[in-house]
Amino acid sequence: MNTYLKIKILAVLIIVSTSVIAQQTPALKQTKSVLILNAVAHIGNGQVIENSAIGFKNGKINLVADARVIRLAADAYDTIIKASGKHVYPSFISPNSTLGLVEIDAVNASDDMNEIGEYNPHIRSLIAYNAESQVVESVRPNGILIAQITPRGGRISGTSSIVQLDAWNWKDAVIKEDDGIHINWPSTFRRAGFRSENRTLEPNKDYSKQTDELITFFNNSKTYLKGKQSEKNVVFEAMNGLFDGKKILYIHTNEEKSIIDAVQFAKYQGVSKMVIVEGYEAYKVTDLLRENNIPVLLRRVHDLPLMANDDVDLPYKLAKLLTDKGVLVGLENSGDMERMNTRNLPFYAGTTAAYGLNKEQALSLITLNTAKILGIDNICGSLEEGKDATLFISEGDALDMRTNKLVHAFIQGRKISLETHQTKLFKRYTEKYKNQ
């Protein structure tokens, strides 16, 4: 056995042993200032700098400039990353996500996304968020570095929080705690039965009753919050912040009528910040949404039309239909296998570009627009001075599968690992075959 082979075996052993610790160790605090030079910078707000200079220090972006114009001292930055031909992007953001709440869909014991009960504003996703999830780790190499962790189920499913995806624990991870409350708005049309091949959908006879319940619940919450609260009601208490604009109300619904009702509801309840989530038929009420300043976190782009007679490409072009009418749109990804599919978020955006938007508009759907909708655009969402250095460099167009290849990613300036459970297995078995 020659030395070379020994080293090789050792290398394999190291890989094997490191894979026992499944998760990537969170990156150390960035102590140096960093300059990314000559990359095509996609700002996130529609702008592109073809040959850019992006600098950050102490976790914040402090330079966004055209490299051909800017003059910098040689020692202005500790580290210079030459990224000619590469592309730099602000972090993609995954809203309405259950990352870290479930590890493996079919393994019940790993599932923490759904609580029993109908009115659960007090249920907080943050404390169940598993910062060491292998699924969370797997979405980072595709550019998703921030997510809004959201509970599921019930009429009010609970309170979400926004996290960055490189952390030891949820306390480290949190960017914005308890940012919003999520309502699953009643459907006007619902399934009559579950059995048999063709399930019948029919008008929901309880629709008014269900919306009335919501109104009653909101009224009670407000009344409670105005009172002395000498005996605590944790459920009503959790509604605090919704009526003074500190929390955002996310109403999950798809139907035209439900959207109209939800908008009226929020207005009547004095909720100042409200977002439609999913919004399949939002394109039918764009005037209402625009006039009331209500953005949409649009349902998964890679989906089938809900009806046979809908345009074949309707899910692909909804973002375009809404954007053209002046509605602020972000993309969300709830649905079948939603956690693992988070890493396809950039390709959802890319598809909206294939179906009408320009590429930078498409990029905004998963960066600045989403940051604005979630109320975190002061710290992320675009490559702008003063914002967090939560960004990445890709070999090429990050909205296209072929060129979405991250070379570096930073969260609040920290250079994070792009390795995953999966890349390790890739290397391990590549090695195995090489050595045969």
Partner: protein
Amino acid sequence: MLLLLVSFFSEMILAQEYFPKNDGVHQVNQNYTAFINAKIFITPTEIIENGTLLIQNKKIMAVGSQVKIPNNTNIVDLKGKYIYPSFIDMYTDFGIEKQRAQRNFFTSAQYESKKEGYYWNEHVKPEFNAFETFIYDEKKAEEYLQAGFGVVGTHLQDGVARGTGLLVALNNFDNNNTRFLSSKISQHFGFTRSTNSQQSYPSSLMGMIALLKQFYHDANWYKNGNASVKDIALEALLANQNLVQIFDAGDKFNSLRADKIANEFGLNYILKGSGNEFESIQEIKNTKASFIIPVNFSDAYDVADPFLTNQLELSDLRNWSQEPFNLKILSDNNINFAITTDGLKSLKSLKSNLIKAINHGFDKTKALESLTTIPANLLGKQHEIGSLKQGYLANFIITSGDIFEEKSTLYENWVQGKKYVVNDFTVKDIRGAYLLTLNNEEYKLKIDGELTKLKSDITKDSIKFTSNLSYKDGWISILITNKEKDQTTFSRITGLVSDVSNLNGEAILSNGNKVAWSANKTDDFKEKSEKKVEISVPKLFPITHPNTAFGSIEKPIQETLLIKNTTLWTNEKEGILKNVDILLKKGKIAQIGNNLTDATAKVIDGTGKHVTPGIIDEHSHIGASGGINEGGHNASSEVSLQDVINSEDINIYRNLAGGVTISQILHGSANPIGGQSAILKLKWGVAPDELLYPNQPKFIKFALGENVKQSNFRAANPTRFPQSRMGVEQVYNDYFQRAKEYDLVWKKYNQLSPKEKAKTKAPRYDIELNTIAEILNKERFITCHSYVQSEISMLMNLTEKFGFNVRTFTHILEGYKVADMMKSHGVGGSTFSDWWAYKYEVKDAIPYNGAIMHEQGVMVAFNSDDAEMSRRLNQEAAKAVKYGGVSEEDALKFVTLNPAILLKIDDKVGSLKVGKDADVVLWNEHPLSIYAKPLKTIVDGTLYYDVEKDEKLRQQNFAERNELINLMLQEKNKGNNTQIPQRKQPTQYHCDTLEESINSEHNH
């Protein structure tokens, strides 16, 4: 004129002639009844204007224009009235108790039959005889009688083989000895599970088809004395094979499926349809079968609420307007059919629905035939019922006029010579204007309306009094309010009518005093002069191919197409060719080169665009009906997806819009040995069978892991083997071994000389084992759902022991761990690009899987298993570039050439080469780009998706939808019945979609 010579043999056939009689003396009644001066429909086409019908006891003794009437005859004058043969409904469940569902979700699944002495499956029960449980339902009979029926066929509408039906006369005055025209007239089949059985198999439509086929095979084998056991069910099937065979298909495609079974076994089914036959009329006609057709037309939807209306599919709206044309279209195509009331909410709606069909162009004579002579013929009773001829049963109806006119009244329905009065025509017509004298005051009384539903109008000067008239059994009675607005005090007048010009009787005033009243006729009743409304035949909205949204009026046709100056991804050694032309002609790639011309070709400018071979999806579940899994058994190699192709699934069109031209439709993964697959050429607007890839290689789906061991829906007391990966191996081992032995037995038997054969018992033909034997004989190939390396190695090992290879591992997410073994076994991997984490067994699934297997020399494809992903498999292929750095050309092959090779169809498809099938896609740009979309998808030289045509179809959809909604609004405005909007939500099948499953999460 026809002169009928009547032979007056006495009709002595009284049912009880040999019964002892203890409640009186024996009586024989030999009197006749003659109906004279009537318009008589001897048959729908043989009509006497002023004829006589002579009956005695149960039978018709004579009919004609000059019938000699014996002295002992009661004469009924039917001047102006019509006599028709009474109707026959050969498809009812009259008098048969409905089976009750026995479902208990909390007990273990039942895999074996609980019946002993019968077939192994409870859903086939040919031994059931309807007559044995039949209870004559007098009340229900009255409903039939009022609708004009005299005879019905009835049977148990439950199960796959349903037993025999009986034919019964609706004679409310005698007992079953008289009523039964045949205690066993028909043998019945259908595509439904038995309601009162919990036996798991069959859980799918393809399972029911396979079960029935096996049942017929077994019956033939049993018949020839090869069985060593007794089987009451097989004996019953055989014993009843000479009866009328009726198959409840219940859908146009199911009719075609039932017809295929009939052809395979040399049977002759009468197919009970559903009313949507017009949508596939050519295929329906090609069956050459006779049909039983329902007339349960749906009400218009209430489309007043625009939001709810949005939830309606165009096809549902369209169906409402088209379905009343069904009978006309069937009849125009010379398809023989009887009409049934089956499916009608009320028998009263039969007449209005028939009139509706007639207004939609259905011929009245045909209507009458399909209710009389045709069912009589189909039942083989054309010499007893259905016509009014000498010797036939005296089953007829008397009407005021043309029975298919709204205005006509059905008076009497005679069955077996017994009168049932529907509306009394002997009643005196008291309609007219009268001067009513009551309590010394004079009023004007007007009586009008239908004779069966009279209305009264009482006025004095300008004051109108509320009144309510009833007229029954010759008595008139009117309830009158005393004052115009006072609704609390009443006078009641009654009187027995003898002279219609002067009505009189007694009245009781509100104070209780009795006074006489009279009413003298001042004016005769005048029928309101009918405004001649021109009944225009309603518009027939075009029946498109398929008859759903995005269907085309014209069937798509093959064209000569020349795509000029484009970038060609050949998948051949030429690689990617730039600035070339490709000519598609007669369904094949005719030429590739520069400056091509063809005078007949439609030229398409391909500048800046890309042309690739059509995308091939090795693992898909679109376009199937009635379930994708037959999970009722742990092995189901007898079922075939080819039996249940649904060419109208919108996902076919959506897939075409994503550039897919071929899909292998696989059985799901509910059991280790699944079903036979169907390789489809995706074509939109053709019949199901036209989708089948010609002479396709035979494949079967196997499955390993969590799904087959029921890990994720494990019952409390699992009863199905296997429950572990250890057991999975043994299932295969068992089946391979048995199939090997089975094959040997047959091979030996087939080598026998005819003489020896005659002396030897034939082996039983077993579709399930026969299919496995095909695998062993390398005539059928396995594509196996698989995840973890242990099970993958297991199956390769085992099949090697039995001397064959697995063709393809599908999903194969841990293929990268055993890629070298796969390579040496020679199996391909058809995997997902990046799926993982949905089950424990995909914990180690990595998106580099495809790249590693490819690198190791395994034939790699990316598949969808999902109707959504399949329409952008080009994007999935591009992920192979991202994860693992596969070259773009090789990546495209993952979804084109490589699946073609795995499916053994690469001689015809998968690359662009002269002579291969013209299955190509024109893309707006680089096909692996996220920004790429198909502009045209061509299969066999026919354009099945075209982005420009699609745009037109959208506009048509919109316009047609609006037009239909307007029609429905008119319908509501007219006061006609409407129904609340609702629609069917079709299941999108995945590997693990079980019909029984109510869990909406998929486990793939």
